[in-house]
Symmetry: C2
Subunit: 156 residues, 2 copies
């Protein structure tokens, strides 16, 4: 008998999209100017961090699906919260499309993400999610420092 799956592909996608929904609300919670200008300790603005996440998620998944190991290219050319949210939503759609193209049997293939991070596909995808949680947690501190109540972490 085969070992039962501890988490299915559909569950992992739902989990990730739940996180993406929360991150979207964190972007929304920032006042326009603070989104682009506020930072602590010399760190990047949350607008910059959000664009890092956008530059990773869509292109990273497409790279996995198409087996194209192109270098990471960070696009930080968005200038308004509205533009960032629009790009966020496009990426959310792309995540659905490309994630679903990865077959279950491919999650243990090695893939050299962005021509640089060689690990199994499942590990690349966990990295996308973890990196989003990591930077979003930083956004929570920015919001608190701005005296703005962030959305509840457990609401997805």
């Amino acid at each position: 008998m085969k070992t039962p799956e501890i988490i299915t592909k559909a569950e992992l996608l739902k989990h990730w999209q739940g996180h993406r929904s929360l991150t979207r609300r964190v972007i929304e919670a920032f006042p326009e100017q603070d989104l682009f200008e506020f930072s602590i300790g010399g760190m990047r603005s949350f607008a910059h961090l959000a664009q890092e996440l956008i530059s990773i998620a869509g292109p990273g998944l497409q790279g996995i699906v198409n087996r194209v190991e192109e270098p990471y290219e960070e696009k930080i050319d968005l200038r308004t919260k509205k533009e960032i949210l629009e790009q966020w939503d496009k990426t959310t759609d792309a995540v659905d499309v490309y994630f679903n193209k990865i077959k279950e049997e491919d999650f243990h293939d090695s893939f050299n993400l962005f021509g640089q991070y060689n690990s199994p596909v499942y590990d690349n995808i966990l990295y996308f999610i973890d990196n989003e949680i990591h930077h979003r947690g930083q956004g929570y501190v920015y919001l608190r420092a701005l005296n703005i109540e962030p959305p509840y972490f457990w609401e997805r």
Copy 2:
């Protein structure tokens, strides 16, 4: 033919323990006094956050294994970095022991974590990991604000 697993139980444990190793290094990176006293925007100190993580991981997993839905009880009685690191390491051992007691076929059972959060076991465990990444990301901002270089996020 059964669908191949996208991530195995052993891989998820290794992934979590990699995160725990990084969080340990973040605790270590704080100067003793700042660990307990520094905060931004009225948030909790990193010592407090670390003790939240300790109060969740070990007891949460034990609850899942023993099917005991006891209320969450936060213990924040540790007073030195050394004590926190010792308790962290004990919890790391406990995570190995209890995680391995959960059978693959039980990851989709519903469990009412701390008598309060009813979801599948796999989802409870992802929550433990995500919550750790979230708070650790906040610790990174504290360290940056203290002009201390945090460990690399991708080193586990």
